[in-house]
Subunit: 407 residues, 2 copies
């Protein structure tokens, strides 16, 4: 008997029939002898329609975050009650839990709250009595009793956090793809599904653009050692297991190629190469809530330096304005930007032990006549910034040369 946390997103619970399908999967799992906690999102479209109501009430101004959370949290509450009913209809005891009811305590940062603790006694007592526990993803409660929400990817995080708190054997994330692929199959036709991947690799893949899981939930799973099984809501085949590094038997040198075309780059050229320059530039960006991703600094022989960095494309205009202002103060000879770039990355645990992967990557791109604008590396990944127009070609070539070869 295992303790299994299953998470279904909004599309999987989008209407009455789909909720019944989820109920059937849950019941089947319980009938195999497992204890089941099922974590669900709001029905597809629900959160958007609540959001639209809030905007209408507020004349398109931002609604007060506490009340916004009280409003949108009704979405998951609806789903948990309906799913619990559907499971009960199939003759299995089930009980729904809102964030507050399951003791998902968070801080008071409404709309992007952080989980502080989970009181698992109630869930455990119902599991022991044979109930399926149906829990609301995305939401929690603060010390004052106000409803909070966890922000983007919150439901994945809820599921992983509950799995961690309960010491579950696995957290199954059901989604509309059937696992994690070595590259986007729409771009690289020979991309294949990975049966296992390490937390570290998944974290790089997630933050580099693979959309299957939110970075935050992977971090949580890694920290608490909760195995994640990403699998399809629609077929029963195994998907991809995300596990600690030591449990990945088949280590690929490169296990995935990803592409992120949602960034823009900004270059502040020819500024005096002296201490404090980086702080002068990046402090106001941070204060404006702009998250800087890659940073590359080159120095020139004339004692000046070039600072290039990337930001989310949505923040490009604001970031450029700030860079121009600071660049002026620093006597920069030129501040320029480009929002038609793509960041292509290769990720693999095996890169730690294999020298020469970087060289191979640069070779492949050179052969394809693709110019590299920026490079950034970590122990298990290499990212390059290139012209957006060449992104698909780069992914394809890198996948063929590095992933297929190492498989």
């Amino acid at each position: 008997m295992a303790l299994i946390v299953q998470k279904f997103g909004g599309t999987s619970v989008g209407d009455v029939d789909r909720i019944r399908n989820v109920a059937r999967r849950v019941v089947a799992c319980q009938e195999e002898g497992h204890q089941v906690v099922v974590c669900v999102s709001a029905m597809a479209g629900e959160t958007n329609s609540l959001d639209a109501l809030a905007r209408a009430i507020c004349d398109d101004a931002s609604p007060e975050p506490r009340e916004f959370d009280a409003l949108v949290s009704t979405g998951e509450q609806k789903t948990i009650a309906l799913l619990a009913m559907a499971i009960q209809q199939m003759g299995h005891p089930a009980r729904s839990f809102t964030g507050a009811q399951m003791g998902m305590e968070t801080d008071s940062s409404h709309t992007r709250a952080r989980i502080l603790s989970i009181d698992t006694d109630r869930l455990r007592s119902f599991l022991e009595r044979g109930f399926v526990c149906v829990i609301a993803g995305f939401q929690g409660v603060d010390a004052e009793g106000s409803i909070t929400t966890l922000g983007r990817g919150g439901s994945d995080t809820s599921a992983v956090a509950v799995a961690a708190a309960l010491g579950a054997d696995v957290c199954e994330i059901y989604t509309d793809v059937d696992g994690v692929y070595t590259a986007d199959p729409r771009v690289a036709e020979d991309a294949r599904k990975l049966s296992k991947i390490s937390f570290e690799e998944m974290l790089e893949l997630a933050s580099l653009g693979a959309k299957v899981l939110q970075t935050r939930s992977v971090k949580f799973a890694m920290r608490y050692g909760v195995p994640i099984h990403v699998r399809s809501s629609f077929v029963s085949d195994e998907g991809t297991w995300i596990v600690p590094e030591e449990d990945v038997m088949e280590r690929l040198v490169v296990s995935g190629v990803t592409c992120n075309a949602n960034e823009a780059k900004i270059r502040v050229g020819h500024v005096p190469d002296q201490p404090g320059i980086a702080a002068r530039l990046f402090t106001p960006l941070g204060e404006a809530g702009i998250v800087v991703d890659m940073i590359v600094q080159n120095f020139a022989s004339d004692g000046t330096t070039d600072m290039t960095f990337t930001v989310p494309r949505a923040d490009y205009r604001r970031a450029l304005e700030i860079a121009e202002r600071v660049g002026g103060e620093l006597n920069s000879a030129s501040v320029e930007g480009d929002d038609s770039i793509a960041k292509v990355s290769i990720v693999g645990l095996g890169m730690k032990d294999h020298a020469g992967v970087a060289t191979k990557m640069f070779d492949v791109l050179a052969r394809e006549n693709i110019n590299i604008q920026m490079i950034s590396t970590s122990e298990i990944k290499i990212s390059v910034v290139i012209d957006e127009a060449f992104a698909d070609g780069a992914v394809k070539a890198l996948h063929e040369a590095l992933v297929r070869e190492s498989a």
Copy 2:
């Protein structure tokens, strides 16, 4: 400065514009220097659509009551968040409270819970800091933390209960009529709005078919001495105050005529006149959840007795079956029923001191050639059961002869 609880029903908060209207009324009241608690229902149509979802999930079987409450309670939660936002948009601090958040503790009888206690400290602390408290009607929380609902007329009851617990100066019930009338103005054209009426009279009127307020909320107000002001959501004129008997200055002998055409009568004829007959008959009806209203017993000279009673028309068929079964066991000579009856009642505090009101009522009906089938009286009301076809005529004639005359 007064402490005012305002209650708005589903129609008053049916869309974004109406929610804004409510916000304006609330803000105006606060600007007059009052502390305001506003209690709201789900947006019109919301509860029905949630109910339909539950039925779809359950293949038209009854959903499990705890989960049903978890589901439908999202309706009011949506409204409180939206109304709080609308008030905040107008520059006034506001805060929403679910049943659980305001400490509305109930028993665990899901879908028809009874209020046990209200922890008013939180509401009070926010009122003192200048907040409008926006509370969810209809819902509470049990000792286990499960969401409960109060059943029919629950939002009126929530508002009155909170007003009682806070010691509010008045509980204003906003509705689509502008007060309590001496009769239904669609039937008796000269019906007039009462400016004041006693709890006792209102209680009789409410249970006799006047739809403006639910019996349960009036009982609550009477027990705790909370003045209720029933008024229109759409105009700002004063409506009708419902107050303790001693505060009603102008005592009408008869203050209202009502009609209830939602009952049916059943007669069990010629049963042996011996102890235990009533119990034999009414126990199985009670066990079937059928609420018996009027009961009249006559005895005949042959030592048998006739038992006639009324039940809600919706329960007529089931009640008749039970009566036929029990009648058979009791050797009744005949069991018969009629579901085309109306109960017409006159209500008035002044009847206590005025003999002869009953005689006058019977006279009026005789003059109209209306046959009386059953009679039931209390200290402040007389009800008669007549053929449904004569209901409007009876109301008209009684209103003209008894209410207008005594005014």
